[in-house]
Amino acid sequence: MSILNEISENMQQGKAKVVKELVQQAVSEGYPAKQILEDGLLAGMSIIGEKFKNNDIFVPEVLVAARAMNMGAALLKPYLMEAGVKASGKVCIGTVKGDLHDIGKNLVKMMMEGKGLEVVDLGTDVLPEKFIETAREQDCQIICCSALLTTTMGVMEDVVDLADKAGIRDNIKIMVGGAPVTEAFCHKIGADKYSPDAASAADAAIEICKNLTIEQAERGSL
């Protein structure tokens, strides 16, 4: 088994210490940081995401795998910066005002990081204004809103309204998710994308970032 496969396998099992050692070894052996990240860590996280989506694994398994990934990624960070490797995009994420549930939000964050996105975590009980302000100040391409309660999902509409008023919808997209949220609800409030699970959310975010980059390039060339 190649060392990159070993990184992926151990990461999926949540063996953080082993992953860290293997990443260090791969760097020493001359593997480019980008390749270790993509073919080792992110490849492993992608499998975790798929298994979680299919109910083959559950929250604890994802959390320990993500912890292992983060330890490996932290070690790689200076090498990635040195090589000029950039994130695939940047998003800010939070559970909306009045809602303290964060398991789902954390899972989405981990899956997005597992796809190479940079994620700004705003935590729980986040005001609509905070989403907008952060997205603007930190140049995020996506605002991700999570809610677990039927009584708090309405706050997502406030985020959409505020983004409309701020005139940022061309450059910043809004994604929504959480147990009571549906495609129809997303459509009704005018958000850009609904995802039923964490892995799909990460895939959708990558797609949105890619499309935004193309659109912005086209706008720039006009």
Binding site: G14, N55, I57, F58, V59, P60, E61, L63, V64, R67, G98, D99, L100, H101, D102, I103, N106, D125, L149, T150, T151, T152, A179, P180, T182
Partner: protein
């Protein structure tokens, strides 16, 4: 046989004449009397008044007295974030930064936190409706309670320090046993151990960490002479079998579980299963017909009424329309009639020509009562009763007519007028009362307005 006896019979795994109905009206109970969730969960009189209204309107065979999984956590040191239209949430976790197990001396005593209020409300409910309605005392399940105390790190702890997790769960089980004792003493017939987080772990983890604690808790409840139920929210499909092995009398599942597939498993263990009307898409946002249809369709899929309870997937949202729950009540209590009605509702074509009265030029007020069938539907009987009292009062000064939904022409009439919920009262062609039975004074006032 009283409604309570029917539920008890089902809990003893006997075949019953119909499936029992247990509406999980937690904070939604407050909506019935115009009280918010904070008032409901902190004021005994408000709570009892709301629960009696649930009992009157929804005719439950079994009824939870309080649906608040934060009751124990609050006593054990968690701060709560209160909401007006939902149960409170835990805002901090006392064990987040310390991997310790609290002393047993900290476990809830009957005089702690909101327990005096809750226990007194339970006694009052027992006194008021306990003869005919089975009462559910809900306790926070040990795994969810452990997560309230420790936070999300409990999931990592399952890998990093198994012994700690087991010790903390032991503490939480002791808490559950004490709460069960208090609730049984206050008259609760069924103790429901509510543990939403169970859906978030694998069955291997369940067996490693939760099988023994839950089995211990359910054995304790049985020993104390009460029935037990295991409530789980979320997609617990993979864990139904391991849950069965903890030997509760019943299991209640959420909307994401295929209840018939799950029932095939629970039947193997002779455990009763309850569920699983979707909370948001059907109960909160659906029509009354959607709710009726969901229930009659579910009931049509079982070959006999054994080991099945009709219940919402989980705690009902605050703002579920009352009409929808009344529709469910009717579907459970008069399944055959409602099945016919739902079928008719779908099949009746608009080609039945109904001539509506000329509402603008009526010679005297016209009271139209739309019912499923006042002879068989309880809510309709009350609505019709209220209308009859008004008719007696006003005599020839008003006209009154009942339209039963069991007649196709009447369904066409309902569609033409736009009747959405049954029972309802229209006066001069305008909707005045929907599902909620008006008091004598209110109905008379509404008629007087157009006299």
């Amino acid at each position: 046989m009283t409604q309570k006896e029917l539920l008890f019979s089902a809990l003893r795994h006997e075949v019953t004449e119909r499936a029992p109905w247990v509406p999980f009206a937690g904070v939604h109970a407050g909506a019935l009397i115009g009280a918010d969730a904070v008032e409901l969960l902190t004021n005994e009189d408000v709570l009892v008044k709301a629960l009696l209204e649930v009992n009157r309107l929804y005719k439950p065979d079994g009824q939870p007295v309080v649906f608040d999984l934060q009751l124990e956590a609050e006593i054990l040191g968690c701060q709560l974030l209160w909401a007006k239209d939902g149960p409170p949430s835990v805002a901090n976790h006392p064990l987040a930064d310390t991997m310790t197990v609290p002393c047993r001396c900290t476990l809830p005593k009957p005089e702690d936190g909101r327990l005096p209020m809750v226990l007194s409300a339970m006694r009052r409910m027992k006194e008021a409706v306990g003869e005919t309605t089975a009462l559910y005392g809900l306790i926070c399940g040990p795994f969810t309670l452990a997560s309230h105390l420790r936070g999300n790190d409990i999931f990592m702890d399952m890998y990093d320090d198994e012994e700690y997790v087991k010790d903390l769960l032991g503490y939480c089980v002791d808490c559950g046993k004490l709460m069960s004792d208090y609730f049984i003493e206050a008259g609760m017939d069924v103790i429901a151990v509510v543990d939403p987080l169970v859906s978030q772990i694998s069955s291997a983890h369940f067996e490693e960490f939760l099988t023994d604690p839950f089995a211990d808790l359910f054995a304790h409840i049985k020993e104390k002479g009460a029935f037990s139920s295991f409530f789980v929210c979320g997609d617990a499909t993979r864990n139904i079998e391991v849950m069965c092995k903890t030997k509760s009398d019943s299991i209640s599942v959420d909307e994401n579980v295929d209840i018939l597939a799950a029932k095939a498993i629970t039947d193997k263990y002779n455990i009763l299963i309850g569920g699983n009307i979707p909370l948001t898409s059907i109960m909160l946002h659906g029509t009354q017909q959607d709710n009726m249809k969901y229930v009659v369709d579910l009931l049509a899929k079982v070959k006999e009424y054994k080991n099945l309870i009709i219940a919402p997937g989980c705690d009902m949202p605050y703002a579920v329309p009352i009409d929808n729950v009344i529709g469910i009540t009717q579907a459970v209590l008069q399944t055959a009639e409602v099945r016919e009605m739902v079928k008719n509702y779908v099949s009746v074509e608009d080609d039945i020509d109904i001539e509506l009265p000329d509402y603008v030029h009526l010679t005297k007020p016209l009271v139209e009562v739309f019912t499923l069938d006042s002879a068989t539907c309880a809510a309709c009987t009350y609505m019709m009763g209220a209308a009859n009292v008004a008719k007696e009062h006003f005599g020839d000064k008003i006209d009154m007519v009942e339209y039963k939904f069991t007649v196709k022409e009447n369904i066409a009439r309902c569609k033409k007028i736009g009747v959405k919920n049954l029972p309802s009262i229209y006066i001069n062609g305008k909707l005045k009362f929907s599902s909620i039975i008006p008091s004598k004074e209110k109905l008379e006032a509404a008629i007087n307005e157009v006299l």
